[in-house]
Amino acid sequence: MAESTMHQLTMVEALNLALCEALEHDPTVCLLGQDIGVNGGVFRVTKGLQERFGRGRVMDTPLAECGIVGAAVGMAISGLRPVAEIQFSGFTMQAFDQIEQNMARFRNRTRHRYPIRMVLRTPYGGGIRAVEHHSESREAYWAHTPGLKVVIPSSPRNARALLAAAIADPDPVIFYEPKLIYRAFREDVPDAPETLPIGRARIVLEGTDVTLIAYGAMLRRAREAADDLRDLDGTSVELIDLLSISPMDTQTIAESVRRTGRCVVVHEGPRTCGIAAEVIARINEHAFEHLLAPVRRVTGFDVHFPYFQTEEHYLPDPDSIARAVRETIAWDPTHRPR
C-alpha cells in the first residue's frame, strides 16, 4: 500500500475524521444525539459536522436516550445507517429497553428482513474527575446481550479505523470510547481511509513469559506495567489489546496463553461477570493444559464507581497490574488452593 500522508491526531479528532468520512461517502449515514450539532458534542467529537452536513444529517435531539436509540433503530429499519451518540455511557441505562429489546434483536425477530445497521457511540470510563454516573464501565452488559457487537478502541488510529468498520458493519455495534484518553496523546493517522476488522485483537508487544490482556484506557496502563516489568524484572510480557469485546478474538488469546502459560486480564469495570471472567473462561476452554499459573484479573471492584476524590485508588494502575503479573510469575505450582 502506498504511504499516505499522516496527521498527528487525538482520539477525539480521529473519531471526528471517521464520522466525517462516513457522512461524506455514504448518504445513508446520519448522526443523532444530545448537543452533537451546534455544540459539536460535549467532548467535541462531532465538531463542525452539522455545519458541514446540515441539520438533516446531524441531528440535535431532545434529552431522551430511550428516544434516541429507539429512533435510530427505526431509522435503520427505514434503510439509514444511523450513528447515535449517548452523551455518557452511564445514560445508556435510560436506553436499555431499546438496546436490549429492539436494537439487538430486530434482525433475528424478523428473520433478516430488518437488520439494524447502526452504531451507538458513547464515552465510558473513569479517571477524569467527573461527577456521579459519568465514570462507569458497563461493557459487560452489552457483551452479555446477543445480537450486539461491542468495540472499544485504545488509540486515535485504531479508533478511526474501528469506527469506520462499525459504521460499515451489517450488525448493531456498541462503540465505547475511552474518554480518559480522548485527548491524552496524539498518534499518526493516515489521510487515506482505513478500517480494522471487528472481532480481532491485536498483539501490541510480543513476549514469552506472560500474556497481559487489556483494552480501552487501561491498555496504556498495562503497557506501562509491561515496560516496568521488562526494565525492572527482565520479564517478557506479551500485551494484547482486545479491541473487540464481542465478538472476542479467542484464537489470539488462546494462542498467546499456550505460548506463555500465564495470563493477567485488566479492565476498569466491576469484577463479577466482567469481561475478564469471560476471557478466563475461554482460556480454560482453549488453553487449560498450557497454564502454569491461575489466570489473574486486575479490575474495578464490585462497588459503585467512587466519587472522584477516590477514583484513582479504584482504577487499576500500572503498579497493581505489575504486582498481579509478578504474583502470576512467582506462582508456586505445588501451592495447593485454599
Binding site: 459539536g40 434529552l63 504486582r323
Partner: protein, 422 residues
Amino acid sequence: MKHGGTVRSSAARPGERAAVDGAGRTQAGANGQGPPAVKEAAAPVPFGRRSIDLVARDRPAAARAATLTGISILNESGIAHDALVPDLPPAEFLRIHRAMVLTRAFDGRMLNMQRQGQMGTFAPGYGQEATQIGQVWPLRAEDWFSPSYRSFGAQIVRGWTMDHLMLLWAGFHEGFAPPPGVNDLPFSIVIGSHLPLATGVAMGLTIQGRRDAVLVNFGDGASSEGAVHEAMNFAAVFTAPVVFVLENNGYAISTTLEHQTGQDILAARGPACGMPGVRVDGNDVFAVMTACREALERARSGGGPTLVEAVTYRMGVHTTADDPKVYRDDAEVEAWRARCPIARFEKWLVGRGLIDEAGVQAVTEACELEVLEARDRFRGRAVAHPEELFDFVYESLPEELREQREEYLARLRAKGVIDPAT
C-alpha cells in the same frame, strides 16, 4: 357523577352536555338501559366535529379542572400586582431576599473555587434564584424536596449546609447524604430519573396516612425523558401529593426549547396528564412562591399533583465544562440581565421602604462572608476516606466482597494512602 351506571363529565357546559349525551347514546345504544353490552366511555366523543374541553371523570377537583394558568406578580421594573403579593410579615420578605443573595454568593464562590482547582465540575444557577428560593419557601420541614443539580439555593433553604454542598461538588462521598432532619433526596445527576421517586415518596406518604407533600425540581431538558411523563401520569392516577416544578431555563446544555419540544408551553403537559398546569414568571419570586404554595396546599388536602412551569433563564454556563459562546449570543444573555430576579425584588423592597441601598449592600457583604466561612469549614472537612469504598454498598458486606476489600486495602497500604499498620 353517576347516571344509570355510566360516568359523565361533570364540568361540561350544558350545550355540550347534550352532544356528549347524544354520542353516549349512540355508543351505548340504550342510554344505560337495555343490555349492558358496551361500557360507556367516561368522556364520550362528541357527535360531529367540535373542540373538546380537557375534563376528566370523577376525579378530585384538581384533576377535573385540569386547567392551564399563568401567574406573574412582580415585573422587571419591580412593580407588583399588589393584590397578588403574598401576605407575609416584612421580616419574611427580607429573609427571602437574603436567601436569594446568598444563593448568588455561593454560586460565585463555587465558580471561583472551581477555577482555582479546588472544586470539581459545577453547575451554577446564576439568574435562577427566584425559582430556586420561591419553590421551596412554602415547604414545611415535614414535606419532601427532590432537587436537581442546579438547586443548591433551594437546598440551602432546606437545611443543607454550604460546606456540605461543597464537599459534594468537590467529589467527596459524604456530600450526597442528606443532613439529619432534612427530608430531602440527594440531587439527581441522571436527568429525570428522580421524578418517579418523588411520585413514589408522595404515594408512600398517602398510604401511610400522612398529610405531607413532595416537591420535585427538574429542567426543560428533563421534561423530554420518558421517566418524567411516567412520574406525572402515576401521580395523576394515584392522586399523589406531589408538585412538579419544571424550571425552564431555556437550555439543556446547548439544546434550545425549539429543539427540545414541539410545544413551548411546557405547563400544558399538566392538563394532558390530568393535573393543573401553572406557568409562572420564574424570575418573579412571588409568582413562584404563590404557585407552589397553592399547589402544595392542594396536594396536602388530597387534591393531587400540579405541574408548575417556572420560566427563567440560565445566565451562566451549563457547567464549568461548558462554553455557551458556541451556541448562543451574548446579546441574548444581556437581554435577560434586565430581568434579574434579585434586582427586581430589591427594587420592590426599596419601594416598600423595607430596605435601602445601604441595607442591600450590607446583606450582600454578609452573604459573601457567610460563604467564605462555609468554604473554610469545607476545607477542614475536605479529607477523602478511600478506605470506606466498600462500607456503604450493603447493610453488611458479603463474605466474598471482604476478600476484594482486603485486596483494595492492600493497594492503599502499598501506595502509602493508609497506614500500613491498619
